[in-house]
């Protein structure tokens, strides 16, 4: 870097004019990020503003739409099923995220030790994340089937009567949460593992010399130094939990009798957009989801100073 400054004296006197080399660098850089940026603008940014526009209209399936201002948003306040969906999403997130991260943390720590076959364990635990959601939904639907499912069949052996996992309005949400935890543990574990391996072994060696037990090491060294990774995992997990849709959609059809008890935010967006064909209202819901996730993420960013340890 220093060589750059000393090669041409012109730079100190004529700051504005860039050397041809620098100019080339800049152009190359912009060209390289162009494809991704273009994709981002065309498929994310522009549609976002379009959705924002639609949320103020009464767009249906076909035909022109008229501007109705805040009517969609006013309607959201009194929409019972939307309130239920928000509640479903929050319960889903509050339960699945901490449990998933906790299990992932324990597994990551265990799999950080040099035991035989640990790469096999890591692979097995990571497999759910790379399995197609359709396959996951199909298998778990079979597990949960009231009359022919694996779980109820297993319970039957012990004489316990099976539950209606996917059909009982009181437990369907929790059945779905179990699948969520199962499918996300592997992903969180792999990231936490990477974080663990970033912790210098010198800390552990030093603490062993000072006579620290394994548990003390975990809470005093591992956890604090892992907080940046944990913060990342937490933010990503919450975002993905609030946007959960595909597995639930494939396990619970939209005309199921328990749909109101389990549908999260993105599902009710789907129903309004494509089942009721109320695309204006659905766009308003999409904006609401955006605002909720944005608010929670900003809150997390603010709070990170309190508990995340960047050394």
């Amino acid at each position: 870097m220093d060589s750059e400054n000393t090669t041409s004296v012109n730079l100190t006197t004529q700051r504005r004019r860039l050397s041809p080399k620098k100019w080339n660098d800049y152009i190359a850089a912009y060209l390289m990020i162009a494809p991704l940026s273009l994709g981002l603008v065309i498929f994310y940014i522009i549609p976002f503003f379009q959705s924002l526009y639609y949320s103020f209209t009464n767009m249906q399936v076909f035909g022109p739409s008229t501007w109705i201002g805040l009517a969609n948003f006013k309607r959201m306040i009194t929409d019972q099923s939307l309130m239920q969906a928000i509640s479903n999403s929050f319960i889903y997130t509050i339960i699945s995220v901490p449990i998933s991260i906790l299990i992932a943390l324990v597994l990551a720590v265990l799999l950080n030790v040099n035991i035989r076959g640990r790469s096999i364990y890591r692979t097995l635990l990571f497999l759910p994340c790379i399995t197609m959601p359709a396959a996951i939904a199909m298998v778990w639907k079979w597990f949960y089937s009231t009359s022919y499912g694996l779980f109820n069949g297993f319970l039957h052996i012990f004489g316990i009567s099976g539950q209606a996992w996917l059909v009982d309005p009181k437990i369907v949400l929790y059945s779905v949460i179990v699948v969520a935890i199962w499918s996300s543990v592997g992903y969180n574990m792999v990231i936490l593992l990477a974080g663990l391996q970033g912790i210098s072994p010198q800390y552990y060696e030093a603490s062993e010399i000072d006579g620290a037990a394994k548990f003390k090491q975990f809470f005093s060294i591992t956890l604090p130094l892992l907080t940046p990774t944990m913060f990342f995992v937490l933010v990503m997990a919450i975002m993905s939990a609030l946007q959960a849709f595909d597995i639930i959609f494939m396990m619970i059809p939209y005309d199921s009798m328990v749909i109101n008890n389990v549908e999260p935010l993105v599902y009710i967006f789907y129903r309004n957009a494509f089942v009721f064909n109320d695309k204006g209202y659905a766009s308003a819901i999409a904006i609401l989801i955006f605002v909720i996730i944005m608010a929670i993420t900003l809150l997390q960013m603010k709070l990170q100073k309190k508990w995340v340890n960047y050394d």
Partner: protein, 427 residues
């Protein structure tokens, strides 16, 4: 350094080009419309069971019209309507596609389907060969927008083995609802998990039949008023709820978990009301040869069959209107309809004999009996909204959360509100 940069630039350019190529999907050969050029037109369907026969029909059509190839594309029911509306809204729709009476009003209003009255006249199609109840579902303001393709009527399916074991004679056209309940009670065996008759909380192939039989209606003929607050309508629903209350039918929870069809194929359901399309699935399963069909039972001295049937529609902005009409016309003629009769009941009356021959061994005579009194499927422009309310309210009624009367009265109130807010066909 320089070669690395060039390489990186080339790679990113390649990726962009690859992305663009992957995004474009329409691969149509010709752009002009001269009659001796080769065309490929697309035809969208939703039933994977019917895809093989549709492909055979397309091949036969091309043999007779060598310059037109038909590309049959199957889009499963769950995604069909989403795909169709996005395609139509985006200006890149299928040339021909299946249309359901549940959505035809909406798509006509959206100007997606081509009006075909002039084409019908030019080609000299004899519309009397298609039941009027079917053509009515695709006509609005005396204009026709799709040709009826098939008719799906409700049949009473019964498991012959269960009847034989209990030594009860099979259902026939004289059966009334009371007789049905009586027999179903005898066939119900709770300890073995066998139920006599299925009661589903849906209208199609269920209470959409019994409601008119009891003298009520779901929606008025001008599509402005709900019929659910009429006592006659509510009676048509109550009969089904009673089946569940008496233990003759599985509960809604059980049926949500395992469909009627699956229970029937597993021998756990002795009878149920199904569509005639179920025969294809049953004939490919373990229950083949062990079941038969009969007419739906008489209620109040009447037998009325709520007929559904899909239609063949042409996209209003297709680039190949003549080719599309040729394909549609061929499907609607004797040859196309005869081929169709192997899997569904054709709308074309002269082909019904072919259908019965293809399903020999089953009591298809029942269908001729039912064809005597058909009523079109209840629908409106924005039906999806009130159908959701109907579904929610029926769940409450069928699971016992509310009485049938209360659930139906609430349904009527909400339905009337939604119907009042519906746009009219012309604006």
């Amino acid at each position: 350094m320089k070669t690395r940069k060039i390489l990186a630039l080339l790679m990113s350019l390649l990726m962009v080009v690859g992305l663009m190529a992957g995004c474009s999907s329409k691969a149509n050969s010709s752009s002009s419309a001269s009659s001796d050029q080769k065309y490929t037109i697309t035809c969208a369907i939703w039933d994977t069971n019917q895809a093989p026969v549709m492909k055979l029909m397309a091949q036969q059509f091309t043999k007779e019209n060598p310059n037109i190839t038909v590309d049959v594309q199957t889009v499963p029911w769950g995604q069909y309507w989403v795909k169709l509306q996005t395609a139509a809204a985006g200006g890149e729709c299928y040339d021909t596609f299946w249309m359901s009476p549940a959505y035809s009003a909406q798509y006509v209003r959206g100007k997606v389907m081509m009006q075909i009255d002039s084409k019908i006249k030019e080609s000299g199609v004899d519309m009397s060969q298609y039941p009027s109840a079917l053509t009515a579902m695709f006509s609005f303001n005396k204009k026709t927008y799709a040709m009826p393709r098939d008719r799906t009527m409700t049949l009473l399916y019964y498991n012959k083995t269960l009847f034989d074991v209990a030594n009860i004679s099979y259902p026939d056209e004289t059966w009334t609802w009371d007789k049905l309940v009586q027999v179903a009670q005898k066939l119900t065996n709770k300890s073995e998990g066998i139920y006599g008759m299925g009661a589903l909380n849906g209208g199609e192939h269920n209470f959409y039949n019994t409601i008119p039989q009891c003298g009520g209606y779901v929606i008025s003929d001008d599509q402005k008023k709900s019929g659910y607050d009429l006592p006659a309508t509510q009676q048509g629903v109550q009969m089904w709820v009673d089946l569940i209350n008496q233990g003759i039918s599985p509960t809604i929870a059980q049926l949500t978990d395992t469909s009627q069809e699956k229970m029937f194929m597993a021998g756990k359901l002795a009878m149920f009301y199904g569509g005639d399309y179920n025969m294809t699935e049953f004939n490919n399963s373990d229950i083949k040869g062990k079941y038969d069909v009969s007419t739906i039972v008489i209620v109040n001295g009447k037998r009325i069959n709520d007929v559904v049937g899909l239609g063949n529609a042409i996209w209003s902005q297709t680039k190949y209107p003549d080719a599309a009409w040729k394909w549609t016309l061929w499907q609607e003629g004797k040859e196309g309809m005869d081929m169709l009769s192997n899997i569904v009941q054709p709308a074309y009356t002269p082909s019904i004999t072919q259908y019965m021959a293809a399903h020999a061994g089953l009591n298809t005579q029942a269908l001729l009996e039912e064809a005597k009194n058909l009523k079109p499927y209840p629908s409106s422009i924005d039906a999806a909204k009130w159908r959701q309310v109907e579904s929610d309210q029926m769940v409450k009624a069928f699971t016992g959360q509310e009485t049938v009367a209360k659930a139906c009265n609430d349904l009527a109130t909400q339905m009337n509100q939604l119907l009042a807010a519906e746009p009219s066909m012309s604006d």
